[in-house]
Symmetry: C2
Subunit: 151 residues, 2 copies
DNA sequence: TTACATTAAATGTACCTACATATATTTGCT
DNA sequence: AGCAAATATATGTAGGTACATTTAATGTAA
């Protein structure tokens, strides 16, 4: 559906403004769909992303600083997202013996199992972007990178 | 900058996954820049958008239902955003005389002044998307619309 | 070695989304 | 008229972002 019809704003200042709104709207649209897919597993999107980073490190631990470094959203509060995962016993937190300021965070076997179940359910496959051809996807990536150039 | 370098993930499953992440990341990047630009004026992005809708209606009032209809994010809580604007005396709320379930929301002259100051400061002009050519912008709009096709 | 800066994480606050539920008013049906 | 359904908004709760501040541990230099 055209963005004009989605948000009932028939006229934009110019195509730049339209693209800006379209971009933000489409990203929100994608994120909402993902969030709905994760809901049956009791995870939010940021929680899922952190679990995946922890699996990437496993069996080594990760610190909060490492999580922030790897996250899409640098300003999000990794510490509190880990709180939620810890409550659900999907991760453990222990003081790092080598540097007692830092905290070693590890994914539990329950956490690993959950990730497997989510992936076997195909939740992470259906990215909606597949409506584009490969060439179009390539184009899209180039355009997005250009928007952020020197940013 | 390429998305690979932005988030330090050198390998993606495929170009679709990469485009998905790129899209969400770029939208967040744009929104953060806008939020920073509005901050000196004491407004958040959703607050600014609602003020603009109200100016579009002015001197007629808008109801909460109308605001939701016009907003990008349908699930956001317009009622509470109006709370904040009312505290700052940028809008007024009065019970609609014709339908006492509804609430007439109007932008105040203070609110109109603030919008003018924001626009004269050029905050709403610099949309960052201007790094693209007109043809590229057109292409981007088409790709985004296609992603959401039949959505 | 004490004094100060730096670092790692946690916490506080304001505001936001997402979704469920409550309250008040109006409409429609019998 | 009276009552149920629909409508308009507000409120409650859980979790998230953004950003400032706090606390504890470590590094560093006089």
């Amino acid at each position: 559906m055209r963005i004009e019809d989605e948000i009932k704003q028939p006229i934009f200042r110019d195509d730049y403004q339209k693209a800006h709104i379209n971009l933000v709207f489409t990203a929100g649209w994608l994120q909402l769909r993902q969030a709905v897919a994760f809901k049956p597993f009791g995870l939010t999107l940021p929680q899922f992303n952190i679990l995946r980073i922890l699996r990437g490190q496993h069996p080594l631990p990760a610190t909060v600083a490492l999580l922030i470094d790897r996250m899409l959203d640098k300003t999000s509060n990794a510490s509190r997202i880990v709180d939620r995962l810890e409550e659900k016993q999907l991760v453990t937190r222990t003081v790092c013996p080598a540097n007692r300021r830092a905290v070693d965070i590890r994914i539990t076997s329950t956490g690993l199992d959950l990730l497997n179940r989510i992936e076997q359910a195909g939740v992470t496959q259906s990215s909606c972007i597949t409506r584009l051809s490969e060439a179009e996807t390539h184009q899209l990536n180039a355009l997005l990178d250009k928007i952020r150039a020197d940013g």
